[in-house]
Amino acid sequence: MQVMLTINGEAKRLSITPGDLLLDVLRRECYFGVKRGCETGECGACTVLVNGKPVNSCLMFAAQAEGTEILTIEGVAPDGNLDPLQTAFLDHGAVQCGYCTPGMILSAKALLAERPDPTDAEVREALAGNFCRCTGYLKPVEAVLAAAQAYRQAGSRGVSTKSGRSRGQARKKR
């Protein structure tokens, strides 16, 4: 069967089998920033944003993504200019092996789009579904709080959960 969806601002038509999981389809399409971890919804390494909301792609059927807009880490800085979240993760040493980082950044992006000035507790809740075996969480939390400040200082536009590529020409399907 076929699904039509938008990935990182690009309209796509993909051939899938009815039982395909979104994680497998995205990796097959070379979005390797979508990591395969536990495959049971525990670790959050496979997090993507579906219509702006963090979701574990290992627990979603690709067929359910019909008509949705998906953001993977590849769509966060398509032109190579890092997002303030990415910069903050680097500056704060919040990345070690990096396996959890795409999921963490996407979860944080969804949080900041809704809450530009989150509390420490809100950041921890937003990252609760993203396991990190390296950093001990303190640095990612600091990085998200710093990125929130950087976004606010940069001003008006707010945090978008769309890809840099499609920003401003958001289209809605379905």
Binding site: P18, D20, G44, K53, N56, L59, Q64, E125, A128, G129
Partner: protein, 290 residues
């Protein structure tokens, strides 16, 4: 993992979904948020029927009660101002513990009930709230009290049927208190024990009635009816709390598994019930004597 699936249906109306359910029979399976369907990996279905496009995501106030569409997500429940303001917000509190944000963005209340895990957090709350399910097949729609919905772990009375909505009847007026308690290793863990409790005060500050539902301590969530009876009509005291805890322990039948022993679960069911009763009593203005 699901390479044997022949078709993934995405019906746009309830009528279409029910026709598909009838047509596919035992080889068809309903999918909502898929968080249990994928992790349980049951290989028997050949067809999936997605119920998330049937306009079943809603929360409606219904006099002093409320009605919830089966495909409403846990995230929508925890954000709903109606649910947050209903019965002390215990359903919103329970929904907010159903795994990570990623999980709650997909997980639905209908899926939580139909999956029939003994630990389902919305189930124990809805049992305390005396909820009914509106269930449909291609021929008829009918109501089933949640208390009669489960027949065992991961088993319900549904036969090629779909939960359409959940109806919570009007709450009695007067001063009441409600509490949801969950024991897990982390805030969003699957419950080792959970409890939903309600209490109402009479004009003299005594307990008019109580409702005590316990989960993850038996094949399905249960009401501790003997404990409820024990409390009704009485002034609350430490002694009565202890007796109620004993009665709750007698009402449950936990098992030992990799996550906790039966003894621990039994012991903790009394602890959680007492904790919940104290919280309810404080809200309802019921003093606790010695």
């Amino acid at each position: 993992m699901f390479d044997h699936i022949e078709c993934f249906y995405r019906p746009g109306t309830l009528r279409e979904a029910l026709a598909l359910l009838q047509k596919t029979g035992r080889r068809g399976a309903i999918v909502a948020g898929a968080t249990d369907v994928v992790t349980r990996a049951d290989r028997s279905p050949r067809y999936f029927i997605d119920v998330t496009h049937l306009d079943l995501d809603y929360v409606r106030k219904n006099g002093r009660g409320c009605t919830i569409g089966a495909a409403t997500t846990m995230m929508a429940l925890e954000k709903s101002s109606i649910i947050r303001g209903f019965a002390g917000g215990i359903l919103a509190k329970a929904a907010a513990t159903c795994g990570s944000i990623q999980n709650r963005n997909m997980a639905t209340v209908g899926g939580n009930l139909a999956n029939a895990s003994p630990a389902a957090d919305s189930a124990v709350v809805l049992l305390a709230l005396d909820a009914h399910l509106v269930v449909a097949n291609s021929r008829r729609k009918h109501r089933i009290p949640l208390a009669e919905f489960y027949v065992g772990p991961h088993k319900t009375v549904l036969k090629s049927e779909l939960i359409v909505e959940i109806v919570i009847p009007a709450l009695p007026g007067g001063r009441s208190g409600w509490s949801f308690q969950k024991l897990g290793r982390t805030e969003t863990d699957i419950s080792l024990v959970n409890a939903a409790v309600g209490l109402q005060a009479d004009a003299h500050g005594r307990i008019k009635w109580s409702r005590i539902a316990m989960g993850a301590v038996g094949p399905m969530p249960v009401r501790a009816r003997a404990a409820e009876k024990l409390l009704a009509g009485n002034a609350l005291s430490e002694d009565l709390l202890a007796q109620a805890g004993e009665a709750v322990m007698n009402a449950v039948s936990p098992i030992s598994d990799g996550r906790a022993s039966a003894e621990y679960r039994r012991e903790m069911s009394a602890v959680l019930a007492r904790r919940a009763l104290r919280e309810c009593a404080a809200q309802a203005g019921i003093p606790i004597g010695n």
